[in-house]
Every structure is written in C-alpha cells, then in structure tokens.
C-alpha cells in the first residue's frame, strides 16, 4: 500500500519546439511549481496529477537534443537521468519533425527505463504509422494533439498501464561501429549499477560513461577512469571522430530508416506557410524595421498599460494607509511601531504589489512572442549586433524591456538559451535607464537646467546608459566572466498559434514565482532601509543623526570627489527601496519646505548631473537584486552585480564631475 501513497515520478522529455509545454500544461493544469535546477539558471517545473490510484509527479525536463552534454540544458537532463532516474519517461515527438525528434527518443529508449512516446500531430498533413514505431522502439506509442487535447485519454491510459506493469518488451538495438559496441560490452560487465540506477540498462550506462566524463562517479564507484580513457582513445582513433558524434551518427541512421518506414517519406517536410510569413517578417530590408516596430508596440503595451495600473495600486495603498492610521487600535500603538508598520512593512508590501501589473503584462506578451515562433526570428535579426557584446540575438529583447523596468526583464532571461547569455544579460540589464529613474531625471533636470537644455541632458543620460551597456558587455566578454558562449546554432521553429491556456498558466506561474522567490527579499530590504533611516529612535527620521545620516557622513570622503553631499547619499540609500522615492527622500533629508528651492540652493547643475549619473548606474533597487538572486540562483552573481553597479557609478560620476570642474563648469 505504501507504494501507492508515494508519488510516481514521470519525466517529460523532448527536443526543443515539439509542444512539450502545451502537453505539460494539459496534463498538470494549474498545479505547477517552478524553481531552478540545482546550481544552474535553468528553470525546473514540476506538476502533479492523479491517474487512477496513482499520484503522478510530472517533471518537465528542459528541451535537449541528446544526453551528451553540449548545452547547459543537456547537462541538466543528463545529470537528472544519471542521478535520479524517473519511474517512467514520457517522450514527446513532433510528427512534422520526426527525424530530428527520434534522435533523442532512440537514445532514451535504450536506457531500459519504462517509456511512452507521444507523437504530437501538430499539422495533420502527415500520416505516421504508430504501431510500427511502437514495435521498433519497444514502448507504447500514442498519437496525440497537445493543442486540442485529442488522444490525451489514450495517453493517460497507456501511462497507467506502464506504471502498473513497468516491464519493457525489448530494448531496441542501435548498431554502432564494432569497436564502440565492444567497448560498451566490456565496460558494461565492469559496472554494477546500484541504487537508483539499478533498473537501467548497463549498456546504456556504459555508453554514457564513454561519451563524457561528467558524473561518471555516480555510475561506477571503482576507478574505471583509465580503462575508459584507453577505450576512448582507441575508438576515437578508429572512427576519426569523437564518441558523441559517432553515437549520434548511429542513432540518426536508425532514425532515418524509421522515418522512411513509418511515414513513407524520406525527409521531413518543408513548410510552405512558414516560408510565406518569413518572406515578410525576415525581409532583407523590412525585417529589421518591422521587428523594431513590434518591439515598440510591445514596450508600449507593457508599460503604457502597466504604469497607470502601478499608479492606481500605489494610490490604493496610500488611501488604505491613511485609513488604517486613524484606526484607534493602530493609532494607540507607540510611534516606532506605527512607523515600522507603515514606513517599513506596509511600504514593502506596496513595492511588491506595484510590480504585479507589469510582470503580468510582460509575460503575457513575452509568451506570445516566444510561443508564436517569432522569438527565434528576432534573435536571428539582431544576432550580429548582440554578438559583438558576447550575446545572442534573443538578449536584445530583454535589454530593451529593461528600459521599462529591470525586474521583469531580468525574470525574462530564463527564456534565453545558455548559461553565458543569461548571466551576461542579467549583469547588463541594471544599467538600463528604467522608467523609475527617468522620473528622478525629469524632476531634477527641470529644476537645474533651462527648458532648452533639459531634454538634451535626458538624451545624454540615455546615451550614457547605452554606452555603459556596450562597454560592460565588451569587458565581460574579455573577462570570460560567465564561461564560454555556446556555439550559436539555433533551430528556427515553425510558426504556431499561441494558446490562451499556455499564456495564462505561464503568467500566473511567473507572478507566483515572483511572490515566493523575490518578494521576501524585497520586503526585508525595505525594512532594512527603514531601520537605517529611522534609528536611533529619538532623532528625526532621515536626519543627520540617524544611522543612514551617519553613514552618509561617514561615506562623504568617498562622495566628495563626485560632488555629492551626504544628504544626497541618504537619498541614494532610500533609492535602494525603489527609485520612485528618491525625490521624496531628498525633500525629507533637506528638512522639508519647497523641494525645488532646496535643490537649487544646495545642488549646482554639475553636482546634479553627477548625482543623476550615479543614480543611473548604481544598484537599481531591492526588487532588482531579488530578481537577480532568484534568476541566477547564485549569491556570487548577485554580489558581483552589486559591486559592478557601485564601481561603475562611482567612476562614471567621478569622471563627469572632475572633467566638468576642469572645464570650468560648476
């Protein structure tokens, strides 16, 4: 009975772009949990559903072409199989792209684990001989349509049967060059798979050992290192190529024959409809302008709709705050507690909530672009420019959307392919001039500069932001901070109509994720700033005697060369909560009164400019830090980003202020 109580792990695997996410959403609905795979920035999704008396835990593996690791995603899939093999593999293949899909299917079917193959009939044009595939692969094969849900009951039935009777009829044999088969046989006799690997075919494990060194210790405990090395040398000498390539060749030879038998067609079909759409969207001259237009509309849609919503939420919180403050039960509380509740906790909640509309809108439109297949096209169009700063084309979209708000832009980096791209993009986004910083700049430039000069200053700040992103990109590229980029070979998927269900689930998931992973850090950050600016208890808040004020004065030797007074340093500390409150904080620190007058009295135009440059480049806000931590899964990268921002801001301000002084400005 205990067997039935525990969850049965089913791993959903496929190559990229086969409708895996749609099937995952169909099977699990809204009971999903996301996180990261250990140690990497690749998203891990797990969902649950019940099947008869069984509780199924469906693990969504990242899209990978093979178990031989080239990309981070493939490394994840490989280590998943070799460390915690699932009870059943659910593999989905695209009927229109059968040849390429079957490469992975064949490799997985040799593992010996119970398996089901779902053939996703994305377009109905192709007839696939399902029973024949089933006979060859030795596993049940079910034809489904992930989009319409057709064939899903049959799939669930088949899954139920496999769980009940997990014995495989046979394991398909893929013929390899004799020397490789011999090596695998020899090796398979020496390894005694124990623990979780017990059910796996030892020949399969031997192949995994031969093709790559990683994780070999989980398969064999005794030192087979030299034995494997010798064989590897002999095989590579005999075949003239690396073992993963030899293995791939064998698999695809088998796949080619299987496709021919199952469909009667030699290769996969060309897609004429795609060609027609691409002729317009990827047009030699109009492709790029069209892309920029789409990006402009996207930007407008996310922030044009999202920013007013943010304002409404802010007003709602303010109204609720003033209502709560007069409630007798709260008004009776001591001052410090009231201050903690409203300026700390309540403020933190308000910051978290204010991100909801833009994150939701951002991911609605992002999933539209991604699921439709346009993302890959955008990457293709922008690739050359982004390649120069060590990124691939997809990162452009994230960097651009960072100019609205850094937080969703950083959360969106999980769409990018490859660890290298993700980390570099995460590190670059905080230098973009987001709308919250823009508010400060608009306010200050209007006070400090004439109406003719102010727009030019704003324009220069945008240019400065672009420049720093490009220079930092080049620097990070030279430093190899995130390892080496993966080779850029990107499949251009067919255009597909995005499904509403997928979009809603995705957006809901992202919001939930933000709430669980980033929100606690944001609230903690806001409370920490509250603490600094309100204690010791007996001095006026944000004044010279609070810890923040003392810190500002302590740091003044550092900020003096930048032309930034300690009062502004305190405002910068406030700016960590959210850039929107910097202006308000300045007003408080300068002791109230008309802020415009105060600013004109205390800050010269050059000092103001230096202050703005510092604001532009230093850490955007706690929400951004929280997003970086959540996405990268690493404190090291988060800390690096913090330091990078502060150092860049300091040097940029210093350069500007000192040059300004030398040139005779004030």
């Amino acid at each position: 009975m205990s067997e039935q109580a525990e969850k049965i792990v089913v791993a959903l695997s496929s190559i990229p772009n086969t409708g895996k996410t749609t099937l995952f959403n169909r099977l699990t609905g809204s009971s999903q949990n996301t996180g990261n795979w250990p140690g990497v920035s690749v998203e891990k999704k797990v969902g649950c559903f019940s099947l008869g008396e069984y509780k199924i835990s469906l693990v969504d593996l990242p899209g990978a072409y093979a178990l031989s690791p080239v990309t981070e995603e493939e490394e994840v899939v490989r280590s998943y199989f070799l460390k915690t093999p699932p009870a059943v593999i659910l593999n989905i293949v695209d009927a229109g792209n059968l040849y390429r899909s079957l490469g992975l299917t064949l490799q997985m079917s040799t593992s010996g684990l119970p398996m089901i193959v779902a053939v996703n009939m994305i377009d109905e044009k192709r007839k696939v001989d399902i029973p024949l595939l089933s006979t060859h692969l030795g596993v049940p094969v079910i034809s489904i349509s992930a989009r319409s849900g057709q064939g899903l009951p049959e799939l669930k039935n088949a899954l139920y049967e496999v769980i009940k009777k997990p014995e495989r009829s046979h394991i398909p044999h893929i013929s390899c060059p004799p020397i490789l088969e011999e090596a695998a046989k020899e090796l398979s006799r020496k390894i005694i798979p124990g623990g979780p690997l017990e059910k796996m075919d030892s020949n399969f494990l031997a192949m995994r050992l031969l093709e790559a060194n990683t994780l070999s210790d989980t398969i064999h405990k005794t030192g087979l290192g030299n034995f494997i090395k010798q064989w590897r040398g002999r095989i590579e000498k005999a075949t003239g190529e690396t073992i993963p390539i030899t293995c791939a060749k064998c698999r695809f030879n088998a796949a080619r024959g299987l496709v021919l038998e199952a469909t009667g067609q030699k290769a996969d079909l060309p897609n004429d409809q795609n060609k027609r759409i691409d002729r317009i969207l990827l047009h030699r001259r109009f492709g790029l302008p069209l892309f920029l237009l789409i990006m402009f509309l996207l930007f407008q849609a996310v922030y044009g709709l999202g920013t007013p919503l943010q304002t409404y939420i802010g007003q709602g919180f303010d109204a609720a705050e003033s209502w709560l403050k007069v409630q007798p039960s709260i008004a009776e509380q001591p001052n410090w507690l009231q201050s903690f509740l409203f300026d700390g906790l309540w403020q933190g909640l308000a910051v978290v909530t204010s991100f909801f509309p833009i994150i939701a809108l951002f991911f609605i439109f992002m999933s539209l672009i991604e699921a439709s297949g346009y993302m890959a096209r955008a990457a293709f169009l922008m690739d050359n420019l982004m390649h120069r700063i060590g990124l691939d084309g997809k990162a452009f979209i994230n960097l651009l959307l960072g100019y609205g708000c850094n937080v969703p832009a950083i959360m969106g980096t999980r769409i990018l392919s490859g660890h290298h791209s993700r980390v570099i993009t995460i590190l670059l986004i905080p230098f973009s001039l987001c709308t919250a910083r823009l508010q400060i700049f608009v306010f200050l430039t209007a006070i400090l500069f004439s109406a003719a000069v102010a727009p030019l200053v704003l324009f220069a700040l945008y240019l400065g932001s672009f420049l720093v992103i490009i220079l930092t990109g080049l620097l990070l590229k030279v430093l190899h901070i995130a390892g080496k980029p993966e080779p850029f070979i990107m499949e251009i998927p067919p255009y597909r109509m995005p499904t509403l269900n997928n979009m809603i689930l995705r957006t809901r998931q992202e919001l939930k994720d933000f709430l669980y992973r980033a929100a606690p850090l944001i609230i903690a950050g806001v409370i920490a700033v509250w603490f600094l600016t309100h204690f010791p208890a007996d001095v006026p808040a944000a004044g010279a005697h609070t810890w923040a004020g003392q810190l500002g004065q302590l740091l003044s030797p550092l900020f003096q060369p930048l032309g930034i007074h300690w009062q502004e340093t305190v405002a910068l500390i406030f700016g960590l909560i959210a850039k929107e409150i910097v202006v308000g904080a300045l007003a408080v620190v300068y002791g109230g009164g008309d802020l415009s007058n105060q600013v004109v009295q205390h800050i010269s135009p050059l000092q103001g400019l230096s202050f703005m440059v510092f604001t532009l480049f230093y850490t955007p806000c706690v929400a951004t830090i929280a997003a970086i931590k959540a996405e990268s899964g690493s404190w090291k990268i988060t800390l690096f980003s913090l330091v990078l921002g502060l150092v860049t801001a300091w040097f940029a301000s210093l350069l500007l202020y000192q040059t300004g002084l030398v040139l005779g400005f004030r």
């Binding site: 072409y65 190529e241 690396t242 790029l288 990457a379 420019l385 499949e491």
Partner: protein
C-alpha cells in the same frame, strides 16, 4: 572546380554538401545532435541584416540559424549558386537546378524557355542585365538582377 563554402560568396540560394563537420568540436557535436552529418545538403535561405548570421535549410526542410564564421568552418562544398553570384564564371556550362520564387515567376521563366535541367552559359555580365545563353536552344535570354537571383544553377563537370 568545386570549392568549399568559405572561399565563395555566401548569398541566398547557394547550396553546398557537407563533407565534414569541421574542427570546432562543440559546433560539430551540436550539429551531429541535430541530425546534421556529412552528406546532407545545406542551402542558404537568407542572410540577416549586417550580414554575419545566416539562415540555412537542411535537405530542404528544417531551418536553422548559424553564424558565417561557423558555417565557413564546416567543410562544405558548393554545388549550386544563384546566377547573380560573383563566383559564376563566364563561358562555362552550368545546369539550372531550381527556379525558385512564386508560381507566376516560374511560369514567366518557362515562357522564355527557362526551366530546371537546362544547360546554360553566361556570356556577358557587365550590364545590370545578365545575358543567359541557353545552349541547347541556341538562344540568348536577358534577365534582370531580380530575376537572375531566383535562378539557381549547379556546377556540371562537362
């Protein structure tokens, strides 16, 4: 006579046969995992603005994007190119491999006697129009550059 893709002008319509996956191990392994092996035909579908990224199709079906540097590193021998390619030599016999473009364009070409399988020579390329010599028909057809780039010719060994 046949040359690898690295030595030739890369433009849409150029087709080549992969002879080996090149020396970059990671690129080679990636391609192998996607089912690309020596013997497949790659066709350049289009080139992105700024020119460094290329969309290719494998055996006429699956498309992927690759950078020019990586494409050049493949040992890939050119078997066909558009009439407008600067690598097309004068007075040498080629065979028309495909007339791409829409059906209407193909019909218009057909009306002028241009279709697949025809042996042709280029006699003159100095003016913007290309003079195409249809060898068996003993006829010369003048084509504009927009028309010529849709006609893909293959190298014959006669």
């Amino acid at each position: 006579m046949k040359k690898t893709i690295g030595c030739l002008e890369q433009k849409p319509g150029v087709e080549c046969i992969v002879h080996s996956l090149g020396s970059d191990k990671k690129v080679a392994q990636r391609l192998a995992q996607m089912g690309v092996f020596p013997g497949v035909t790659l066709q350049i579908v289009r080139i992105a603005s700024f020119g460094a990224t290329v969309e290719v199709s494998i055996d006429g079906s699956q498309n992927f994007a690759i950078r020019k540097g990586e494409l050049t590193a493949l040992n890939c021998q050119v078997v066909a190119m558009p009439l407008t390619s600067s690598d097309v030599q004068l007075h040498i016999t080629y065979r028309i491999r495909t007339v791409s473009g829409g059906r209407r364009f193909q019909q218009r070409m057909e009306a002028q006697g241009i279709h697949r399988g025809l042996l042709v020579k280029i006699n003159n390329r100095t003016s913007p129009r290309i003079e195409l010599h249809l060898i068996d028909q003993k006829k010369i057809v003048k084509l504009g550059p927009g028309e010529a780039e849709k006609i893909i010719i293959e190298i014959t060994d006669v």
